[in-house]
Amino acid sequence: MKHHHKALELAGICKEFDGRPALAGAHFEVEWGEVHALLGENGAGKSTLMNVACGLYAPDAGTMAVNGVHSPVAGPADAARHGIGMVHQHFRLVGRFTVAENILLACGEALGVRTSAAAAELLREKSKELSLEIDPDKRIDEISVAEQQRVEVLKMLLLGARILILDEPTAVLTDQEAASVLQLLRNMAGDGCAVVLITHKLREVLGYSDRVTVMRDGQTVLASSSAEGLTREDLARSMVGASTPTPKRESKHLGDVSLKVAGLTVKRSSGGCDVEGVSFEVRGGEIYGIAGVGGNGQPQLVDALIGFSPVAEGEITIDGNTVDTGNVKAFRSNGFRFVPADRFDTGLIADFSAAENFAMTGVPDGRYGNWARVDRKRMRQHVEGAIERYQIQGCLASTKSRLLSGGNAQKLLIARELGEDMSVIVAHSPTRGLDIQAASTVHSLLLNAAAKGIACVLVSEDLEEVLALSDTVSVMSRGRLVGEFAIKDASRERIGELMLGHA
């Protein structure tokens, strides 16, 4: 099939959120029959731009053309009529519905189907055609993330999408699963579809894309360059603007075993176990990385490791002292510190000022005034010191932490957690949602802490991060630790297999 027009053209797109520009005149185009990578850091505006393309966001300015025809897209339904389909990073699936019901919900009107049985039939045909296996009668919350993604792709194709936009489709997949999805996309492009692959993984750009567009700060900095001949360094430079040094790990001497976790089991309220018989040991100065695909019990393990939730069985000891499980206070007074995945969920209080957030953990034990009077002046002084030491930008003592950028909020949190008297750091995806520079700062802070002899547990779904920082890597799958390697013996392939559960 020969096309004279580009599949999708966006030009001069601007979008502000509450006075903060997310897109400032971005442009983008994709041809029929290609896989076009849209590369950029977190917060560069990739997802926002594509949300504009699929009608979810209304642009403040700019034009858009589908197959050469100028057409504003008003809402997701309109996008579907234009043949545009998007798989969002957070899947748009109803967990309690079956696969067929989800298909019916999304495609019923467009395809004139009114029962889930009919939707299931359509789904079977389409999945056979693409040789994608899927059981229409399973509930979404019973199937794996990779399967859910397949449902999303099928949904898009059933709606007749020819312009396919996928937002970070491999973020939560193992290497093997990711490879199969990317191959599927290549095949779709081979059939003449236009495929947009939003990613921040350089590997995917170089391995699977025809052309690449790079965004930074809401603008297009590298437009539609052929992927061939580009190097990782080229891409990295245009993504970040300047090259960032990757934190160097110095060879170091590990101390004695400091943290001991034995037979930790966390029960699920609806029966079964989220965490089952997890045991490991961490030496002083060691970073113990736990890799794994999301949803294999990591949050529950982390909650148990900081005393946030009770455990059914098992023991946690620090330097020989058993810690009272399920008691945050006991953990904290034994020197456990916590860097959570979602800063505003279990870390900072969004509506508190930087000073209050910083001092919060010290208030109960009387570091800031007595029961009758909280010493706010002392809070301010302390946080001002921390703001300077950790170079937290755009932050005064009185700034509400909700107004801080992700990286600065994380720095504030780390400044608080890495205080005195600490012996263990539990970090859970500490760089999720951060840009490269902020992420590398966070990494250096963790490495520094380890260098001081602190035992660190790093639980992360980002395998790169685990491999870059850890001294020992272990893999979590279905609530268990299924393999442990010293970093020098760790191979990506073996870890990937374990993550998939092929033990």
């Binding site: 959120f17 979810l56 966001y57 209304a58 809402g75 997701p76 339904a77 579907a80 969002h88 957070h90 748009r92 699936l93 109803v94 967990g95 309690r96 519905f97 019901e101 019916l104 919900l105 999304a106 019923g108 009107e109 467009a110 009114r114 029962t115 889930s116 309220s269 609806s270 029966g271």
Partner: protein
Amino acid sequence: MDTFILNWLISVPLFAAPLLIACLGVIVTARAGVLNLGVEGIMALSAAAGVVSVLQGGSLWWALAVAVLCGMLLSAVFGIATVVFKTDQVLSGLIIVAMGEGLSGVLGRGFTHRPITGFESVDFGFLHDLPWVGPIVFGQDILVYVTVLLVALTGYGVHKTFTGLRLRAVGENPSTADTAGVNVTIYRLGAVIIGGALCGFAGAYLSLSAGQVWVEHMVAGRGWIAIALAIFARWMPWRAVVGALIFGGTEAIIPRIQATGADVPVYFLMMLPYLLTLAVLIIPAITSRGSQDDTPAALLTNYLREDRH
């Protein structure tokens, strides 16, 4: 003893029906992700509106229509506030309770304690003469049979139709529904207003059929009991029937015991429905904690499309 039990069973639907209809209203609304705590107020307004209409010379069916319309209007106020203007659902619900009770007081000024002739039992001919079954099943007023019909319709509509699927999707995951082309605002508003109509119906039943009179505070917490019932029924219409019969049975036994002239502390007897409601909330919480949570996932959260995560 037989007469006691028979009279009791005959009167059960009279008490169960209003609870059941109101509960259906709560369920339909909740399935779209909106919890309308204003039931008590909507029922109060509709109860008053129904009786006022009759006393003004309207027919019973006209009065029922007015009551249902009042329920729709007051719930529309709630819907516009929460769905369009994103006000807190709990607080707005409490405001609707106050508003409904206030309006009923103002509207019904001068119409209290004036008995009316309400709906009478349907004539099923010989069927009514069957032992036991006759008076219990075939001796009820027309609204009881309408209630049965409404349960079936709601159950079918919510669980078996395409629109019902979309409604439930809005209550489970509004952003997914939105992406699928479902207008979340319209669905939620629609569910709130249909729910309001049902609650209005329930209120009208209290004054036009069960009480045949209007007095202030006559709803007496039944709106709240209906909400508790919806939780107990895990937001499923057919389970609500079971709950409503248990509650109706309990409520119905109070006047029967009083009628026997037995010496029982009457006010403690009147506490029974409230204590039973507490029990119904507590027992599942203790026995099956966390398992089988069927609460619509987006219940109580307002949806905003352009919200950035």
